[in-house]
Symmetry: C2
Subunit: 397 residues, 2 copies
Amino acid sequence: MQRIQTGDQNFVKKMNKSIVFNAIKNKGPMSRSQISKNTGLNKATVSTMASELIDESLVYEIESNQSSGGRKPVMLYFNNHAGYSIGIDLGVNYILGVLTDLNGTIMEEISRPLASTAFAEVKNTLIFIIQSLMTKAPDSPYGVIGIGIGAPGNVDLNEAILFAPNLKWKQVDLKTDIQNHFHIPVKVQNEANCGAYCEHLYGAGKSSSNLIYISIGIGIGAGIIIQNNLYTGTSGISGEMGHFTINANGRKCRCGNHGCWELYASEQALLNDAKKQKVLSKNDAINLEKLVTEAQTGNKEVLQILHTLGEYIGIGLTNVINTFNPEMVIIGNRIAQFSNWLENPINHVLQDRLSYYHKENTDIKFSVLGIYSSALGAASIAISNFLSDQKLETMTF
Amino acid sequence: MQRIQTGDQNFVKKMNKSIVFNAIKNKGPMSRSQISKNTGLNKATVSTMASELIDESLVYEIESNQSSGGRKPVMLYFNNHAGYSIGIDLGVNYILGVLTDLNGTIMEEISRPLASTAFAEVKNTLIFIIQSLMTKAPDSPYGVIGIGIGAPGNVDLNEAILFAPNLKWKQVDLKTDIQNHFHIPVKVQNEANCGAYCEHLYGAGKSSSNLIYISIGIGIGAGIIIQNNLYTGTSGISGEMGHFTINANGRKCRCGNHGCWELYASEQALLNDAKKQKVLSKNDAINLEKLVTEAQTGNKEVLQILHTLGEYIGIGLTNVINTFNPEMVIIGNRIAQFSNWLENPINHVLQDRLSYYHKENTDIKFSVLGIYSSALGAASIAISNFLSDQKLETMTF
DNA sequence: TAACTTTGTTTATCTTTTAAACTAAGATTA
DNA sequence: TAATCTTAGTTTAAAAGATAAACAAAGTTA
């Protein structure tokens, strides 16, 4: 049976300590006096919390040399080197791992191609990457505080991978495996959720409390941030926006549905179109990099299929916006490298199809974190989990 | 500047008081001792809170006559007659008003047809209905604690009606008008949001913390309950699922978009189809009531168009489910009276088009509150607002 | 140098929770 | 019927923590 949180002195203290900590972390450096004025907490309370946080190595102090007409304040800094986090982007043909400090600054990165998606091979590569990153982590009070993994598939509430079509995995409990190997907390999340979390914390969506991150790769997935929290659905599998029906009588998708958005607006759709339209000379293999260079040199056929792709992306975005009325929609993953050519057709479609109020109030952005979205998001989920364990943050997913 | 909530003794007390109150309200009647065991609060704390709540007339006690081997417990009851709430369903050609107790039990109802949707006429009828209900409210400690209004249109964060197409209203601040007239708190919400809130509190979705209520009337709107809270979007206009594109190249909707769901799956779509197919003899006016009786007598053409309607509803529901992974989807408003004939085609489409995990985990239900959803939901929003003012509940919309 | 400012700590007070003791009241049993 | 056991609810004393006010520290300004 789950006990609810009741109000007692201990709870009050945890609450105020987390207020002080978050003030320092998010708006710091700040003096005790400033924190008191800013949060409404008494100076004495702030002092108590600050010295505890200093004892715990989560905060350190440096005397300021700027006086404003009285005693100089002592500035409190978040100790972003109190520990380190590891984030993994589990791609389909690669694994990217990053080591970050507690502010999400990338310290090291390792990438390895994946020859096969067989679980054993993936797991070995994964362990190798994590191991390498761990040895590169500098000495610190808390060491490596956790591992976050962004997976290309459905992740359930226990963080088992339910179904990852492109890896051909079903019911894989990667979390437990990795946790048993390294004996530190492991968080597994869907790749789009990682991206959303990342953009919300460090990227284009920093200022936004309701945002939708649309990850367009082989397929389309979405991460949903509602009131500053990641929403993952009742069983953890929300955000399957790639399987929006945008053509009720369209062709069948492997998911069972017909006319899914991702059949028209994904990387896969782009590659199929390119193949069908024979936009490249015969002996060129078609891949994204090639299409980028062709677009840059002004290949008309390529520009045409990008235009169509943008229109279809726009059609799906109207659905997203009408549904969520988000502050912001961020388009990420590999398709983001075509932003120059997609922006116009997307905006045209939105101008055409959205109601006045939505047009006025919704920002459409492309990811600014590029290929790091997923790995960095995974690392930051591990950080949130750590801070949540320290009762300094609340993580609700 | 908005002060954040810090932890102090007063906050702790409010918190524990609300825990005791909600235990009594939602799981009551309960004795002090049971509450203590259930919540983890000390018996002494429960006693303190209980006597305050009794002083405030929100709770009363009745001695039990059942002993379980010792002193008989005194049962604490929520005083659902401590005050009354008024809920309004602002239809397009009618206004329905209800007077409820604090448990959402309907005590009185008044309905009036609307000859025109001109603001002055609507306002007068509204005031008449509210006035009549107020005089019918029994004497009570808090009197009529507020008025909730469910409106058929977009409501912004200040609860002004931005746009109500079927009323032909734009930028109407009904809230302030009514509040100035009656001098008690007025809450205005979109009709689908009211329905969602109502189903969540009293109806089919009582047990569910993530649910989507789909209101199918002339158009289609949706109310979104996420983690037991109503989510209304950044500007208050989320849930416009009626304008989902389900046919990218479909015909134009008045919203600007093409192939919107509500063009295929609403009451309007049903009526249009019926007209086009000439399912009724020439001199019969086509309306919903007539179609219900025809369906009951087994009119094949009517059954056919209902089948098609159901399939289109199902297509939109796959979008909703893929997006939100809700525990439950509730279909409400006037279309719910066709549930007998819609259930099968909807389920067929979902079986066909949803992935295994969604099929297993999503409940599809029809509203059990029928024509009262919106008015009752509005009343309950007013109640939540009252309890929130008393610091006994938190309302986050 | 004196007066004023700003920062941060110490102290005494206040509120509230809680465990433990106690009162109340009924059931069971010898 | 009296003694014992159970359960419910209140009282009391102790402990925790926030806060205002007093105080100490360390600077600026005139």
